[in-house]
Symmetry: C2
Subunit: 504 residues, 2 copies
């Protein structure tokens, strides 16, 4: 509890948003910093959320015809250099392996030994190494499309790290595909963007703006980059997933050629797309409140937790048995086609400690069962989305019959709340003055502006200047209004309708 004893997380969002985020993670036991600079440890509760994200995305990738494979962790330094933009984008922040063993030095301490002929870098992303393999695998148009995904760890030597949002090592998936035509590759790029958007919206209950990045924000080496952008509760944008149309850039540098059905040698067209453990950060900042994590039922490792209340020794066994019995019945119910995930917490802890523990971990439904509930055949349950004080009483059989609907309602409420928050913090701005005013709102406790939609000429230099002056960037050019050509609010030139925001 915080100093004023009103919330479980201290500080609150409005007191200090950045610190609130760290404290939510700590209180829910999701992750922590490690002794290795910039690398995080993902703790069991956080990893279980990631496993659920993985399982659902993996299902969707396979449903759309992709297969998983695994490529080397290391990339020869020379590979990175093949694509000019790519090396510019990644050389500044990569872990370089230069030696292959350790030896005891003169003082007995270890020193690197066995220098490598060519240094290796730990993959920051795998376009260059996968391109090399694709060049071996693709000979004829019959080998296309090649639709591959990889679940892996990657490393980017970030200077300023924050758990889940920006860490030196992170876990992700990277899709890599090769196609016979530009149109097919673009279709794939857009299709996977759609998979991400639908997953974020339906599964994470996190609404996103789907659009194309401006030239300045493209993935190094891409022709077009698309993104999904979510609004966090400090009104900043989180880029939650990207999908890239790579044109023939990587095919050219990796020599991915095929013989067309007309017998002509052509370069393949490639795509790549990825989401990472950053999604967990997005999840936290979309739904959590001042009492800690709030999980949508889809992603909750436990959807229902049952807390036995055992004030007297003589009724203890009966209460525990009733809890197990209720758990068994609830596990017969389903949510999203799967049996409910239900846990009975029999730990020998004080009731308050236990209850607050599960509140802070964000479990959607908590149930308390004591001797009186047994007598009345009643259930007292609390919905996490309604805050720490929510309490509802019902009879046991009605509860069991309605639990799936209750979870659906929680999922829907979280989504509706996130959408309402985003909408109420999104504006249309018609002039530079309005733009300035919107982002110059006093940034109390690290809370910033919101989403500002405006006409913009997309000049990269101007974009840079805006970023420097206001710390605001173009998040993307939303697909929904991509055919509009409003006047640029800065230059009066013809522009695109873009969404501006401060961003993670």
């Amino acid at each position: 509890m915080s100093a004023n004893a009103k919330t479980a997380i201290s500080p609150t969002r409005s007191e200090d948003y950045a610190e609130w985020y760290q404290q939510v993670i700590k209180a829910a036991d999701l992750a922590e910093t490690s002794p290795v600079r910039g690398c995080m440890v993902i703790k069991p509760w956080g990893y279980a959320i990631w496993e659920r994200i993985q399982a659902e995305l993996d299902r969707r990738f396979k449903e759309t015809g992709h297969v998983n494979a695994y490529f080397p962790l290391f990339i020869p330094m020379s590979f990175l250099q093949k694509e000019a933009d790519h090396v510019d984008g990644f050389a500044k922040e990569c872990a370089v392996v230069t030696h292959s063993r350790l030896e005891a030095g003169p003082d007995g301490k270890l020193v690197p030994a066995g220098p490598l002929e060519e240094p290796l870098i730990v993959r920051p992303t795998s376009e260059t190494i996968i391109g090399e393999l694709f060049a071996r695998w693709v000979q004829s148009y019959r080998d296309l499309p090649l639709l591959i995904n990889q679940w892996a760890n990657v490393v980017r030597w970030e200077m300023r790290t924050r758990l889940f949002l920006r860490t030196a090592e992170f876990l992700w998936q990277e899709g890599h595909t090769a196609h016979a035509t530009a149109a097919e590759a673009m279709e794939e790029t857009r299709k996977m963007l759609g998979v991400y958007a639908d997953f974020a919206d339906k599964y994470m209950a996190m609404p996103v703006v789907v659009g194309e990045k401006t030239a300045g924000e493209r993935f190094p080496g891409a022709v077009n980059t698309f993104s999904i952008e979510a609004m966090m509760q400090d009104r900043r944008a989180l880029q939650a997933g990207t999908s890239h149309f790579l044109g023939q850039n990587f095919s050219r540098s990796s020599n991915i050629k095929f013989l067309s059905s007309e017998g002509v040698e052509e370069l393949a067209w490639t795509t790549s797309w990825g989401v990472s453990t950053r999604l967990v950060g997005g999840l936290i900042m979309t739904h959590s409140d001042d009492d800690g994590l709030v999980l949508p039922p889809t992603l909750a490792p436990s959807q229902v937790v049952i807390l036995p209340v055992t004030p007297k020794e003589e009724t203890r066994d009966a209460v525990l048995a009733a809890c197990d019995q209720l758990a068994a019945e609830l596990r017969q119910q389903t949510f999203g086609g799967e049996p409910l995930r239900v846990q009975v917490d029999k730990r020998d802890l004080r009731g308050g400690e236990k209850t607050w523990g599960w509140i802070k971990k964000g479990v959607p439904i908590r149930i308390e069962i004591g001797p009186r509930d047994l007598e009345k055949d009643a259930v007292c349950f609390c919905r996490r989305d309604r805050g720490a004080k929510d309490k509802q009483f019902t009879d046991r059989s009605s509860f069991v019959a309605a639990v799936s609907k209750e979870l659906e309602s929680i999922q829907a409420c979280l989504h509706a709340r996130a959408l309402a928050f985003r909408d109420s913090n999104s504006v249309e701005v018609g002039s530079e003055e309005e733009f300035k005013a919107f982002f110059a709102q006093p940034a109390d406790a690290g809370i910033h502006g919101g989403f500002a939609y405006a006409g913009f000429c997309c000049d990269p230099e101007l974009e840079d200047q805006i970023a420097k002056a206001y710390k605001v960037t173009v998040r993307n050019i939303p697909l929904a209004t991509a055919d509009e050509t409003p006047t640029c609010i800065f230059t009066g030139k013809p522009g695109r309708r873009v969404v501006f925001a401060k961003a993670y």
Copy 2:
């Protein structure tokens, strides 16, 4: 097909076993070497097998109370040094990260820059970094046992690599647990050994000898190491999984202390246990034949493949529809509690090429459906375990009704065959002469001895001499006969009953 057109794989096992192994992998499209020395690329068919191994092991780990977490890829060099045996075991072969970025050198080529204050090593195994975290997490006996598993990539800079069996980078799981007492930690060590043994036997249809390693073969830093050892078709042993009782060695070096229920500060007792992508190598060498890979139904990405035979254009649509219909019905059947995995191969390829492709990929049941089968409502199916020429005819409905039993029969036959092979190549040796004679059998085409059970005094120096003289090692001291104390066949001293073999 081989030169003599009798087998799909050339050379055959008896012609050149090591090369046969490479060719089976190539023909089944499981994996290949990468441009990064010692690192393999796991291709989709190979990775799908690994995913099935992962899914089942993960289920078993969770069933026994373990949770997954994720720890950093990098380990500070000084951590490795904390445990003396551990550093001796791993310092000789590790990837060392010394720089954090790349810069263009005078000739425009990249050079490592941003030297790190302390070099990092890429984890060869995670005892030291996880120990550091456990020390933070464990305060009281209430925090124990701590039962964690990690799925990860690890790197050991091997000089001589072979796909799946020995690669610089490999994928694995590593369990790490901490307990309040030695007895509990030993129970955990044995329990997970049992999980591995049962998985290998029941799920991979690969019988294993379960036992304890001798002192010389222990994991660096362990008090006791246990292993499962399988016999490959060249009669060599493959260590397929290990489970280590680490005593208080890593607790001491990492400072994992807890306050006991009596209020006394004590060092925790830890274990670790792991299996890796090496299991895929074991799977290949246990069941495959001279026509390629043979997969047990449990692990086959597709258990049944249906090949439409469409000689005439006018019956083509009817045949394809019948194949889809049969596939849908088969998917209603279950094996091991899961719906059957069935694929219809509609690719536009010559029939022979298609059929041989699936033989080489090891799919348990192949079905061909042509216009005549439609007329007769018949099914022609082939069991991969019975060789490339197997063909059986039955009516369609009987086939659908019996397909699960057929898969069970394949699973059982593969296991029985592997067990019979092992038994027929296992001997009891009562003297050094018999030992010599057994292992001195002409090693045609790289095929070696087998398993020799014998009394052995377990003297480490003698073990070394035997390894040098005969290239034979003690695989383990089988648990089944661990209480026997036979006389050592080399020294006449009291010994243990051990199993000797040449090994991977």
